[in-house]
Chain length 459, copies 2
């Protein structure tokens, strides 16, 4: 019981404690604190340290423990902390990490920092980082590691055992379940269980004891395919072949899990207007403000375009000032309805129950929901307008406009993610602004045109 | 190469093909289609079938293959399809599924259907479903399966081997890596590797060959703890102990992965206004409309409350009709800024770099961003208003209002998720509507109050 509860987040741990001890320079006390608290609290405490204190702590921990901590951090915080170090110190820590995590961290740095650190990596590591960085994040090549064991099919058991002993230090960080067996051109021809290796007579060639025709994936296979693979196979890793069929890496199950979770998180953040990378409040203020502004400035321009529709109908508005109360309601409610349709399309795309080409099907399914919800919302708003402003024609105008615009909003909301997907634009980022701009323009236009037509009854 | 490409989604497969063949009654052709296409296309084609055709297909497949298909479907579609079957047929399919998936599907059904199907399950299965359903979805108890092997510590190797042979059919569906070894009170005292079992002399008791003191989790341990556990341990499953310390289930790695992905998806869907369960367009129209309306109707009421602020200042608006153009812009832009802050708080909570109690810290970090972004956006809108309407005071009023309201929006957006989390309300659902209502009210109030004060300069 004692041991169990110590792994739970310790709400009584004060993240400032670590900072105090770092400041006082008591290295042993710092290490004692980190030993005492669990990973989640280490991350919390580390994220609260000022930049110099983070650097001091990483140096104090030494490359191996520093690498463990870096790997537990959110990626953006990891990169930020690495940037604070001298390139040589940073490289020493990165060398303790698997190649895909090296590439992820270095990919987050600016070019100058990345170049300086690469210069301090071993040639082999630098080459791996360069190669892995060339792949998109969501294909096998972008998720694989280059730390794996591969031996020629004609090698003898004794040679392999000797190699394992000679390079024990280097291999200690590998995730070893299998070694891979390749032919003279690097093609994957078998896998070797460590157990079979130990039980085999030392003079036999690997081809006699390997499991032939192993499963593999291709370097450009997309994340969805890897998810299916690990769903259907109880492996911790799968070998990756490049275009020529040569073995070039291994994708681990945990890398695929992480990538899937990140995909969902990115969808949420994009929809909420956090674009250009994750934001943590520990980041520099100007970076945070600038990133958020990049999204807001697009939106304010789109908003002005939409509002110009109102400006064009100022005379109508002047005659029926009560309309001004209902314009923001129509704008906001159409946005709400449309965003629901966006979310359903995004999910259907993710789940694979709709194809990007099936616009017609999607529109049809949305029109029917739009009719019902538009009718209900329009009637509600119409009745409120009638009671509030005491004019049945006003109720008719705003209720009718909301009804019509709800239908437009769900149709656009449903269709836009599919169209963007076909156009290879990230729908999570672009669908929202496109939707709200178009529905605002339509909504303002409809309500003000209806009102112009009924002006004598309204004024 | 041939084999590789056949696993890729086959864009040429027409999901209607399956429906045609079902209609023609050619059972062999139906099974041939399913054998030919990959799982993703099976799900797509199945989701497009009308309800009766889904039922026919599940019956045609037989319980075992039907269970496989059901498990590949999105949960809501799985439940919908099970509901179409007679309770006895449904039970036969469910019995082929692991207990946690049984409980998940039955949890999605309405009470009458669930009861009828439970009546057809074996007593042991029904009892398991009842027990698992009692746990929240995001703790070990809600994620575990009850299909595992457990033997008494004094059992002999021969007894275990005999039991495995006698019950081979039942155990065939278990995910067996280890058997668990328990004491007379059900407490977990060891794990048994299948390999060690086979290599042991038949008369030895399990206590001699088991690995003692195995790791375990508690039934009420939260998802985050399980995520950490599987990050740090290369196991495919972990035994779960109940309050009394007795072994009560096993959580598999894949269940934890799935739950994490679902958590992110739910956050996105909630933020977009899809609440009360996932929506697929294959669901009944009225259900889809009703669920969306439940969210929209709350929002329209909140919108009306916010708009009442405008109604109270109609005289100001009448004097300066140009303000009506800017009200929707201020409302929408404040919503955008506030939603960004909501997203950052949600992520910081998920990543564990903020605690729900740290309101002050969050507000401080937001005020500074709000100052910068408010200044930029306010200046932009002010200049546009000046140029557009030719009145510098109008620019001052709308620009100043947007500046001030941006600060309010980011502070509220940053703080609300933390406050909701402390109040144990799901912030993903509630933060958005609370935010937009409050910021709309503040925004309308500020701009119209500023305008009233400057009325002589504006009119």
């Amino acid at each position: 019981m004692e041991q169990q509860s110590s792994e739970h987040p310790d709400a009584t741990f004060d993240p400032r404690e670590l900072r105090e001890q770092l400041r006082s320079g008591d290295q042993e006390a710092v290490l004692a604190v980190l030993d005492r608290i669990e990973t989640a609290d280490q991350v919390l405490a580390f994220s609260r340290l000022p930049e110099e204190a983070r650097r001091d702590l990483l140096l104090l921990l030494g490359p191996e423990r520093a690498a463990e901590l870096i790997q537990a951090l959110p990626e953006s915080l990891a990169a930020e902390s690495i940037e604070e170090l001298d390139a040589a110190d940073a490289a020493r820590i990165l060398e303790m990490m698997p190649s895909n995590e090296q590439a992820d961290v270095i990919g987050e740095l600016d070019d100058a920092d990345a170049g300086a650190i690469m210069g301090h990596l071993s040639d082999a590591d630098a080459e791996d980082v360069r190669r892995l960085s060339a792949y998109p994040d969501d294909v096998a090549g972008g998720l694989m590691v280059t730390e794996y064991l591969a031996y020629d099919v004609d090698s003898r058991v004794s040679q392999v055992i000797e190699d394992l002993g000679d390079n024990a230090d280097e291999y200690a960080h590998y995730d070893i379940q299998y070694a891979y067996v390749t032919d003279e051109r690097g093609g994957l021809v078998g896998v070797l269980r460590m157990r079979d290796l130990l039980l085999a007579s030392r003079q036999r060639p690997l081809r006699d004891i390997m499991i032939p025709s192993p499963v593999s994936v291709r370097d450009h296979d997309p994340l969805e395919r890897l998810v299916r693979f690990f769903d259907e196979n109880r492996f911790f890793g799968v070998p990756v072949l490049d275009e020529s069929g040569a073995l070039c890496g291994v994708v681990h199950r945990v890398a695929v899990e992480t990538a899937v979770a990140e995909q969902g998180d990115r969808m949420y953040l994009s929809a909420q207007g956090i674009v250009g990378g994750e934001e943590l409040r520990s980041m520099p203020l100007l970076l945070r403000a600038r990133r958020r502004l990049s999204w807001l400035s697009v939106n304010i321009v789109l908003n002005m375009i939409a509002a110009s529709v109102i400006a064009m109908h100022q005379d109508t508005l002047e005659a029926v000032i009560a309309l001004a109360v209902f314009l923001p309601i129509i704008s906001d409610m159409s946005g709400c309805s449309g965003n629901q349709a966006v979310a359903v399309s995004m999910r259907e795309l993710t789940l694979g129950v709709v194809r990007p080409s099936e616009i017609g099907r999607t529109v049809l399914a949305e029109v029917s929901v739009g009719l019902i919800n538009g009718l209900v919302l329009g009637a509600l708003l119409g009745v409120v307008a009638l009671v509030w402003m005491g004019n049945p024609y006003l109720g008719l105008v705003v209720g009718g406009a909301l009804m019509l615009n709800t239908i437009i909003a769900v149709v656009i909301g449903g269709a836009v993610p599919l169209l963007l997907k076909r156009a290879k634009v990230d729908p999570a980022i672009a669908a929202g602004p496109i939707l709200t701009t178009v529905t605002d323009m339509c909504g303002f236009f409809i309500v003000l045109t209806f009102a112009s037509a009924m002006l004598t009854k309204l004024a």
